[in-house]
Amino acid sequence: MIEIPVYAGIIVAYYYLVLSLLGSWVTHLFETDRRLYAAACLGMILAQGILLDLTTTLLLRAVRKRMR
């Protein structure tokens, strides 16, 4: 099924984005400003939750359509 490789591709690209681009910024915040780090944690986890929910909903709808 094409949806799984598509999701896997999105995840790999996401890892690169999150870990490579955000890693040093997040670590800097952690070491210098804990309040801002806490706010960034909440913002990132919420944004990711909503984004992944939309992505997985579309993905599962596509899977169900194909199964029918």
Partner: protein, 308 residues
């Protein structure tokens, strides 16, 4: 892969698989899965304080996905959820302060390990007994008990008499919860139940759904499906507060939480959808092995010195 905030080296596939399993469990049982995620992160080499805080962050994100699905199924009592938030947040801060005190004394890993073992075992034992008694009383040909529920949203437990007594406690202000089918219950009872759940959240990590979901069913009398959805909704706010608290204390590696959530998002959708096909006692019986798995992982980390 290296995670610079916690100085941990963990395979991302491990985190995604753990996240997926916990996502399914969360969507189906209404629990954050901290009784597995916490020990799983500990097993990967994280200190308990970092495992507790990181788990909270992951649970918050995962609960957004699962709660949206349960809302579509009509499984959320928003009135109850908002009241519980107040008690949970206060309890979570108390629990987080407990972790800080243990960090200062240098024995956070040992104490949290033993507390989690006792808690996980107790919950599993009680829920096994209740689910068994309820299923036995309501199977065809049973001599006692009322006929089985006609649909998956109504529910019965073996401690209904205790629940009825708690609901009759007259401690004003009293409110009704029409979505959950409760005519009258004291706000203080709801706050007390949620405060205790919050302490476990802040101390052992996660949303403490393994405490709160059973508490909502057995103490408040909330039907299991509504307890699942309402708990997930409430976890978004309470875990968010606990995440912020732990992040300011240096106990959250957000990068690990973000990676775990990529698996959790799919799992939560699957788990939430599956609840439509099961009744309350069946869900509660299926829940029993989960805290025992977490207990097993914690025992393993104690015996072997923790790292995979």
């Amino acid at each position: 892969m290296d995670f610079p905030v916690s100085h941990a080296h963990i395979a991302p596939v491990y985190l995604v698989v753990v996240g997926f399993v916990i996502g399914v469990l969360g969507g189906f049982f209404g629990v954050g899965g901290s009784f597995i995620a916490g020990p799983a992160l500990r097993l990967a080499g994280l200190q308990w304080n970092m495992a507790v805080g990181t788990d909270l962050a992951h649970i918050m994100g995962k609960s957004v996905v699962a709660a949206r699905k349960h809302r579509a199924l009509g499984n959320i009592d928003f009135k109850l959820g908002f009241i519980m938030m107040a008690g949970t947040i206060a309890g979570a801060e108390a629990g987080a302060q407990g972790i800080e005190a243990l960090k200062r004394h240098g024995d956070v890993n040992m104490v949290v390990s033993w507390v989690s073992i006792v808690v996980y075992f107790s919950i599993s034992t009680f829920m096994a007994w209740d689910a068994w008694e309820t299923l036995r009383a309501h199977r065809p040909g049973a001599k006692r008990g009322a006929p089985p529920a006609e649909n998956t949203r109504s529910d019965r437990t073996s401690v209904g008499h205790v629940t009825a007594r708690i609901q009759r406690l007259h401690l004003p202000p009293m409110i009704s919860l029409p979505t959950s089918g409760i005519e009258r219950i004291s706000v203080w009872v709801i706050l007390a139940v949620s405060f205790v759940g919050g302490i476990f959240s802040g101390f052992l990590g996660g949303g403490a759904g393994y405490i709160r979901m059973p508490s909502m069913v057995y103490l408040l009398g909330i039907p299991t499906h509504l307890a699942i959805g309402t708990d997930l909704f409430e976890v978004i706010i309470s875990a968010g507060y606990a995440t912020a608290s732990h992040a300011m204390k240096g106990n959250v590696d957000i990068l690990i939480a973000l990676v775990m959530n990529t698996g959790a998002a799919i799992g939560a959708q699957i788990g939430a959808t599956a609840t439509q096909f099961f009744r309350g006692p069946g869900i509660r019986m299926a829940f029993v092995p989960l805290p025992l798995i977490g207990m097993g992982i914690v025992i393993y980390t104690l015996i072997t010195g923790q790292k995979l």
